[in-house]
Amino acid sequence: MIDFLVRYPRLGRLFDLLLPLLATLAALAVGAIMLQLLGANPFVAYRALLEGAFGSQNALADTIVRATPLLLVGLGICIAFRAGVINIGGEGQFIAGALPATLLGLSFPDAPAIIIIPAALLCGFLGGAVWGSIPGLLKAYFNVNEILSTIMLNIIAVQFMNFLLRGPMIDPVQLQAASAIPQTARLNPAFDLPRWVPTRLHAGALLAVVLAVVVYILLWRTTTGYRIRAVGFNPDASRYAGINVKRNIVLALLLSGAFAGLAGAVQVYGVSHRMITDGSAAGFTGSAGFNGIVAALFGKLHPLGAIPASFIFGALIVGANSLQRAMQVPAALITALNGLVVVFVVCSDIFSRRLARRRQIGVAEVGSKGAGAQGGGGAGERPPTAANVGPPDSASAQPAPPATAAKVGATIKPVAHVAGQEASSD
């Protein structure tokens, strides 16, 4: 099949574009087998899923509402991964943004909404930025592995949230009631983000889409963005080119955290209107911090690609919930289904890379033209193909990169691959 697609490049390109969709369908097919094993009719089940996600105005609005935090977190992930740092701290940064935003709204219940809402979003942005800059500083100046520090900061943020919501920030009503649910009071309804009545769709979704464009411009149309991508692509070359690698690593993680924090603030002001915890991170965030990573990877670490990717994931989550209600299948099946989609999408990326490599071989066999494509990265009618393969392969062809780059280099392989593609098309 690969041979066939190599022979017809146009078809191959189309195939590349459709691949994530095909992967999702394949995952759903495996899910269908699982449903069948559980004694549920998969056709009925998937119909329930589709109707739950897209069936009505409300369903569609819910899908977008679920997609909004994924997109915001995903935008931050795009920035971090492009800089070659792996930010797994979305959950903690989400909380770190939501807390000050909520605190602001609770502290000034009588202030005009026109001041409070932007200020709260800014608080969320800053809170996330602070929480994200910690692993950034630790990585840049103390060589602390960011994967581990972000994970640990997640746990610390959750503990801190539990503490605040059970103690200082608890809803006075809950304090008197015997139940004592750990949650804050409801924010003044005047502070709710503008909604498209009668649905639950709020203005945060629009903000997220606008910010996606902003992040795209930041990464590809500004010097700052260029530096961030350069650091991710090749830290050593960037250093020799006079780019302050450490500062850009901190900046990337700071921005990454800021977007996750903003997602937290938007979630509070747009959807939940209060903070509530069940003791775990997912109880408040709905795992947006993790799913955002997946959405970003799904969108090929491109801010604009993250828009449809997070929409699809939002649809899966919302649709799966209604599937569960309709079919009485266990909730765990739904999470497993989501996991399957992720695995299939990642696998599909492997497939498309193999396809690209095959094409590259094809180009090389043609002769001199192939060599030109490899060097220039833009020759012939298959520029993305050549660029796709050129940089990562040449990078991985050096089995022992300089010691300093080894650790970073390990983590940026996929990013370098995409970044290279963009860099050479500029």
Binding site: M152, L153, F160, F163, T335, V343, A406, A410
Partner: protein, 324 residues
């Protein structure tokens, strides 16, 4: 607090640390060969669930451990195959597998939540357990703890005193050089990734069958990440890693004790302590400032200090290797 209480606490720290030690040794073998298996948190959850369920069904903890080892090995094999054969990022695959293991274990194990299964019985070693102090702490435990202790020594010996260990380290430090000396680098990496994964699987089952008996949703969540952090803290050395695992167990025990002593301080502070401490430790061992501090010390102290305070990862960790 009298002596017997203290010994009981120390024995429980050793018991609590045993699964972590096993996981850390497994991951050290994997990482020293040049592969990062980031899926620990997910694969330990899957292995804990599988080990518990299989043990319960077959009424034998041995078979439970075996099944858990197979599950861990499968997860590791996916990481190895994806990174070596398919050229994907080890981190991305590992992370996705972490999420998948978490979800899948919740899904597959939902019917076995809070049931009673088999447990590993206590088995003191006849003569050794009568040694004062050390005996009750180390040798009046059960096979899981003994396995962990043997594994520390075995892993150290294998890495540093055997030909195979040299090849393993070569694949992780200088794959080209190792290749030139006739080592099939990628084969070595496959082998130790899968072996390490099997040990991680055993570690997962060591929780559900011995330390934190039973199964519930997210039963051992978080321990995989701790193990990964301890590998770095331990400087990729099994002995130091085991020390790190014990230290982590001790801080947790200390946090519990402190909490009893200071009930007015929020429980949250004590829950967060081990994690904050872990970050500080990672900060200390990797920082350039530590190096400056060492250089400011008398020359005679520098070498031992550096051995204790500094760590450096295998040079080719996480990078792909292509022959020719």
């Amino acid at each position: 607090m009298n002596d017997s209480q203290l010994i009981a606490i120390l024995a429980s720290i050793v018991l609590q640390a045993s699964p972590l030690i096993i996981a850390v040794c497994g991951e050290i073998l994997t990482e020293r060969s040049g592969v990062v298996n980031l899926s620990l948190d997910g694969s330990m959850l899957m292995a804990a669930m599988t080990g518990f369920v299989v043990g319960m069904k077959t009424d034998s903890y041995w078979i439970g451990f075996l099944a858990a080892a197979v599950v861990g090995a499968i997860f590791a094999a996916i990481v190895a195959f994806g990174s070596i054969r398919l050229g994907q990022s080890q981190v991305a695959i590992g992370f996705v597998l972490t999420l998948l293991g978490d979800d899948l274990s919740a899904f597959l194990g939902q019917n076995y939540v809070r049931q009673t299964g088999v447990v590993v019985p206590r088995a003191g070693i006849p003569l050794l357990k009568d040694i004062p102090i050390l005996g009750p702490i180390l040798f009046n435990q059960n096979i899981v703890v003994y396995f962990a202790i043997l594994l520390i020594i075995g892993t150290w010996w294998w890495l540093n005193r055997t030909q195979a260990g040299l090849r393993l380290r070569g694949a992780g430090e200088r794959p080209t050089a190792a290749f030139a000396r006739g080592v099939d680098v990628n084969r070595v990496r496959y082998a130790y990734t899968i072996l390490g994964g099997a040990l991680v699987g055993i570690a997962g089952a060591a929780y559900s069958l011995n330390v934190k008996i039973g199964w519930s949703d997210g039963h051992v969540r978080g321990f995989g990440w701790i193990a990964l952090a301890i590998v770095i803290f331990g400087g990729w050395s099994p002995i130091r890693g085991a020390f790190g695992a014990l230290l982590f167990g001790a801080t947790k025990a200390l946090a519990t004790a402190l909490q009893r002593a200071f009930p007015e301080v929020s429980v949250v502070a004590f829950n967060a302590i081990p994690w904050a401490l872990m970050i500080l430790v990672l900060l200390a061992v990797g920082s350039d400032y530590t190096e400056r501090f060492i250089e400011a010390m008398p020359r005679r102290w520098q070498r031992p200090l550096r051995r204790v305070l500094r760590v450096s990862p295998p040079m080719a960790l996480g990078t792909a290797f292509h022959e020719g």
